[in-house]
């Protein structure tokens, strides 16, 4: 199924990417070609095949990795904001959220 310019604009919005018009054009063409290749998967009947979400390291059945729910030391506020482009009094600062 070919991907349209409208699809690309919608996906970019979902992925929070403000694409240029050239990028939208280019991605429309390239994603269509890639999806065309991916359609190959429809050749296989997978109705009875279970999905594989991760490699069970034991080679056995899927199981969720769990750990004990214990409090451990963490970075702390001062270090946590050290890399922030904008911070004040230990908090991250961002442009206005409501009314945009």
């Amino acid at each position: 199924m070919p991907i349209t310019k409208t699809d690309v604009e919608k996906i970019a919005e979902l992925g929070r990417l403000e694409l240029t018009s050239q990028e939208t054009e280019l991605f429309t063409e390239q994603l269509s070609s890639i999806i065309g290749h991916i359609e190959k998967l429809n050749e296989i009947d997978t109705t009875t095949v279970p999905p594989m979400s991760h490699c069970a390291p034991s080679g056995g059945d899927m199981e969720y990795a769990k750990r004990d729910d214990r409090v451990r030391p963490s970075l702390g506020q001062k270090v946590a904001v050290e890399n922030a482009p904008d911070a004040e009094a230990g908090y991250f600062k961002v442009p206005r959220v409501i009314g945009g």
Binding site: G15, R16, L17, P57, V79, E82, F92, V97
Partner: protein, 488 residues
């Protein structure tokens, strides 16, 4: 001093006997890094800290202390593994100034074992690529022919080892990003079993596929590095509790009776004739050592590329959501609202390939397409994993080419993403199935470019995989040095 000729084990002995100083080895590496800047293998060089750590080893020798296993070994680390206080970019503009507050477990274990980390190596942005051309810090060049790519995405790490700027290196492998550059750059590279090495501190790309792995100039050195970095880590819940073998001692055995599977699907259209010939010769040598060669089939091989590019991009689109200009890295200046700031930051901070993959992954996960794409890919992944399980009922290791061709020209595939994706055709299956794979140099093409053979093993069977590779390495006797590294 010639780092290419110095193995980690011989270095350990010579440092311990006081024949050689760790600080001198480290300075020789730093000097070489400086002379070979045209290859663009490093994004950040950590000279002072490296020399300080090397001098500490020398003091330990003077005090007669027992040396740790990697004492003085000069190691380079791919710039998608964090080191506290050292800028970590992941090859992206969006992390141009990021100084991590913690260190990746694999790197910490190397340092605890006495390794001297000399720098952070160049890579495709967020490890997305097969040529190391997608870096915001410029492409890496192949030391065998500087008009060609070194492979990717761990191109900087592969080149650092190939050109003697480091004795070993860490890379990460999501679809072949250790093995393919190892093949194209003429060094040994291993992707361990999924969960063998902790991913804590590895900047996430495809979390169900990512694995850290070592590069070196010999299988033995790869085994030495793996012995140090492998094992359970409480900070990565997917790291395995399976006991870590003694990979170095395991090399000693022979390969008589080893069953080597040759999957016919890996020897079809698209495979370069010279590559095919070198792989066949290498397989004959294994047979000559007493291995039994078995014809096998991995019937779903042709679906691996589409499955991979759905799963890896879906996981990436989710993992890369964190780069939003709030907590670290780059932020676009002129946005008035939060949402505009997110979108503009990501637009300006990410390169073309990363955007393309976020787009593809977002699409594969979006409402109405999830079952058709992502769900479908997960099911076919099960079939690919079963292929390996069935094959390993009949053989112990699988032998294939690592890459369909030797190193290609810079710029040759950058305009056609699909063409670039197909260069991973022989490596991505091991990531999908979670099994270990190793690339070993097995000769040079007529134009002097390295060719690698890939050996794939069962889950957590690295000991046998490394033994097979070590035996083959001895009979192949590959010891060529890239021209760029010869001149200086």
């Amino acid at each position: 001093m010639e780092l290419k000729r110095l193995t980690i084990s011989s270095l350990h002995r010579r440092i311990a006997y006081g024949e050689i100083k760790a600080a001198d080895v480290c300075r020789a590496a730093l000097d070489r890094i400086e002379r070979l800047t045209e290859l663009n293998a490093f994004i950040t060089v950590i000279a002072e800290d490296a020399i300080a750590r090397a001098e500490k080893i020398d003091r330990a020798v003077e005090q007669g202390k027992q040396l740790p296993p990697l004492a003085g070994a000069v190691i380079a680390v791919k710039d998608n593994m964090v080191m506290r206080g050292v800028r970590t970019t992941a090859g992206s503009r969006i992390l141009f100034n990021y100084k991590p507050p913690y260190t990746a477990t694999a790197v910490e274990r190397l340092q605890a074992a006495g390794a001297v980390i000399v720098g952070k190596t160049n890579l495709d942005e967020f490890a997305m690529g097969s040529s190391t051309e997608n870096s915001a810090y410029g492409p890496v060049k192949n030391p065998w022919d500087t008009t060609r790519v070194p492979g990717g995405s761990s191109g900087g790490s592969a080149v650092a080892v190939a050109a003697g700027m480091a004795m070993g290196a860490l890379g990460s492998d999501t679809g072949g990003s250790v093995r393919q550059p190892a093949s194209l750059s003429g060094v040994v590279g291993l992707k361990p079993t999924y969960g063998r090495v902790s991913r804590y501190g590895l900047i996430a790309f495809g979390s169900s596929l990512d694995q850290i792995g070592p590069f070196a100039n010999s299988v033995e050195d790869v085994a030495r590095i793996l012995s140090v970095i492998a094992g359970r880590d409480l900070n990565d819940s997917t790291s395995s509790e399976v006991a870590v073998d003694d990979y170095v001692s395991a090399l000693a055995g022979e390969v008589r009776g080893l069953r080597v599977g040759v999957p016919r699907e890996y020897y079809g259209t698209g495979l370069d004739a010279e590559v095919n010939e070198k792989i066949e010769t290498a397989i004959k040598k294994l047979e000559g050592l007493g291995a039994e060669i078995i014809d096998i089939s991995l019937p779903h091989t042709e679906y691996a590329v589409p499955v991979y590019y759905l799963i890896a991009t879906a996981e990436a689109s989710s993992n890369l959501a964190r780069y939003d200009g709030v907590r670290f890295g780059f932020r676009a200046e002129e946005a008035a609202t939060l949402k505009a700031m997110y979108s503009r930051t990501r637009e300006q901070g990410f390169g073309a390939e990363v955007k393309r993959r976020i787009m593809l992954g977002t699409y594969a996960l979006s409402a109405g397409y999830y079952d058709q794409y992502y769900g479908k890919a997960q099911k076919v992944r099960t079939l690919i994993e079963r292929d390996f399980r069935d094959a390993f009922a009949r053989c112990d290791v699988i032998a294939t080419p690592t890459s369909p061709t030797p190193a290609f020209k810079l710029g040759e595939k950058t305009d056609d993403p699909l063409e670039m994706y197909l260069s991973d055709i022989y490596t991505i299956t091991a990531n999908l199935a979670g099994v270990p794979g190793l690339s070993l140099p097995c000769g040079l093409s007529s134009s002097g470019l390295p060719i690698g053979i890939q050996l794939i093993g069962k889950q957590f069977d690295e000991a046998r995989l490394l033994r097979a590779a070590h035996n083959l390495e001895q009979v192949l006797g590959f010891d060529a040095t890239p021209p760029t590294a010869r001149d200086i």
